[in-house]
């Protein structure tokens, strides 16, 4: 995503964080410019991290919370991909199909995933299903849009060639359509995954008993800023890790694209 990654020295990133960490320490612990009620000091945050990793917080330990959240995200992400990508591809390939489906899509699309929470609760209860539904709504839209754009962007001469050669439908889809749309499909998947993570936090407001969103919710009820920071950091790190994993899958799936 960042074109000049190679040209940017790695030490610059490390330096930024070091400077920020020093500033954080100075402003909180040393000078008390920022009071602990407003933002936690490094020491408190470390204690909170230790608490949740070793003893546990909000009914589970950190690794259990992470696993629970990852599980939900993967379910929502998979469900959104399974429905969204084929739908997007079909809409891209057939103008007629697109004309028929588009109105429904346009009606659902602008509704924020979080706005589905009240309905999710009354339809699916307080279990994981409701949370997966919310995450699904978040991931579905980018998957569809990017698969659609991917098809639309396939170079015309490839399609012409296939048509001239009289390639059967199934083979066309498998050998031309999907590989051609792959780059944009993966862009869509990446956006989907990010959307999943941001929505997960809100989804776990629906009576979760474990998960990173649950940790954040409990910490906000206890007004425990140090734990909120730990939770946010855990969300950020896990999210980045999953995106990196997806990037690895992407490189495997499209070896012909020198990245």
């Amino acid at each position: 995503m960042r074109a000049s990654k190679a040209r940017r020295p790695a030490w610059a990133g490390v330096l930024t964080f070091v400077v920020l960490a020093a500033a954080w320490y100075a402003l909180t612990t040393l000078t008390h410019t920022i009071s602990p009620g407003r933002f936690p000091a490094p020491g408190e945050t470390w204690d909170a991290l230790r608490q949740i990793t070793v003893t546990g917080y909000a009914d589970a330990r950190l690794y259990q919370h992470i696993l629970h959240s990852v599980k939900l995200v993967l379910f929502g992400f998979a469900a959104a991909t399974i429905v969204g990508v084929p739908l997007g591809l079909a809409m891209g390939a057939s103008r007629a199909f697109e004309a028929f489906i588009n109105p429904s899509f346009l009606l659902i699309r602008p509704i924020p995933p979080l706005a589905w929470i009240p309905l999710a609760i009354v339809w699916l209860g307080l279990g994981d299903a409701a949370k997966v539904l919310i995450i699904w709504f978040a991931a579905f839209v980018p998957a569809v849009i990017n698969s659609y754009s991917g098809v639309r962007a396939i170079e015309p001469h490839l399609v012409e060639a296939a048509r001239t050669l009289g390639v059967p439908r199934a083979m066309f889809v498998r050998e031309v359509l999907i590989p051609g749309a792959m780059p944009m499909i993966f862009t869509g998947l990446r956006l989907s995954l990010q959307a999943c993570w941001t929505t997960l936090v809100a989804g776990e407001l629906i009576g979760a008993i474990a998960g990173l969103g649950h940790v954040l919710y409990q910490a906000s009820l206890d007004i425990f800023p140090a734990m909120i920071v730990v939770g946010m950091a855990a969300v950020a790190v896990t999210g980045a890790a999953m995106t990196a994993l997806l990037g690895a899958v992407e490189r495997r799936a499209m070896p012909w694209r020198a990245r």
């Binding site: 009240p118 699916l124 209860g125 307080l126 629906i206 979760a208 409990q218 009820l221 206890d222 007004i223």
Partner: protein, 349 residues
Amino acid sequence: MKRHFAALAAGITLGLATTAASAQQLTEIKISYQPAVYWALPFYAAAEKGWYADLGLKPVFSTFPAGVPQIAASASKSWDVGALGSVPATLGAARYNLLMIGISNDESDGNAIVATAKTAAGFEKNPGSVKGQTIVLTANSTGDYAVQSCLAKWGLKKADVTMKSMGQAEIMSAMSSGNADLAGLWAPNTYTMEEKAGAKQICSGKDAGAAVPGAIVARADYAKENPQNVAKFLAVYLRAWNWLNAHQPEAIAMMKKFYEQGGVTISEASMKKEFSTRPTYDLAGQLRIMRRPPGGASEVDGWFTKIGAFMQANGTFPEAPAASKFITDEYMKMIDADPKLKEFANRSN
């Protein structure tokens, strides 16, 4: 001619000056509360009747969906005084230097475990069957306290049930759609569930022998700098309760409007129940329950010590704040000592 002009100009200036002066006499005071709850009705009534202006106060109201965001907002001095549940008030005392200056009402009967129509009979007959069930409640609230007190009454431990925490709106949603059998709610949500979903209250804080007071609070640094304003604010609150209790039909009409503003519509019978099940305290009553015998604790101290212990056991804080440190009857005493304020606070018309 010039003389007339001069007189006119002087007259206008004088008139403007006095208006400005009397307008300046209204000091702003920022009051926080939650919408559509019984103990906030006096704020509404007093504003409608103009009693704040009588004491030279100009209230600036802010509302919050629950106690926790309310005390969080005190950190940025968004409000000076207000009222909320005793559980978040204790958290506010521990974290943000809030003082408890009066009791808004006794809401022991207004915080309860509610069960769905189908399951209520079963749980009432055999409370032990609550073991292993899931209870949905709002953590760190008076509802939470009532639920855990009821569990103790039934000989159950916290670990015997699964507790899921969420907002009151989500709780009501889940319960009415049959996705939760047991919930910890506070009034008027208890009445909404009874009327709109056929739920039944099976154990309240009162049933469990737990006193659940409502707290009137002030930020400690504001109170130190503006003790007179705090006393006046309390006097208005007391007068409002006196009036509401003495004029029930009008009070009910006012409650209806106030609750509707907060999105709650309950029957008149339920509104009457709010008044009948939740005692309030006039000035003499407040002084009585907050009086500390030499070297001893007041009745209110006892209530809040128990609540602090509950929150400490929940892990909300490592050590509960000492009741004597954050509960003070200083401002009630100020009203008592000032004949004008005392008379004002005791008025019921």
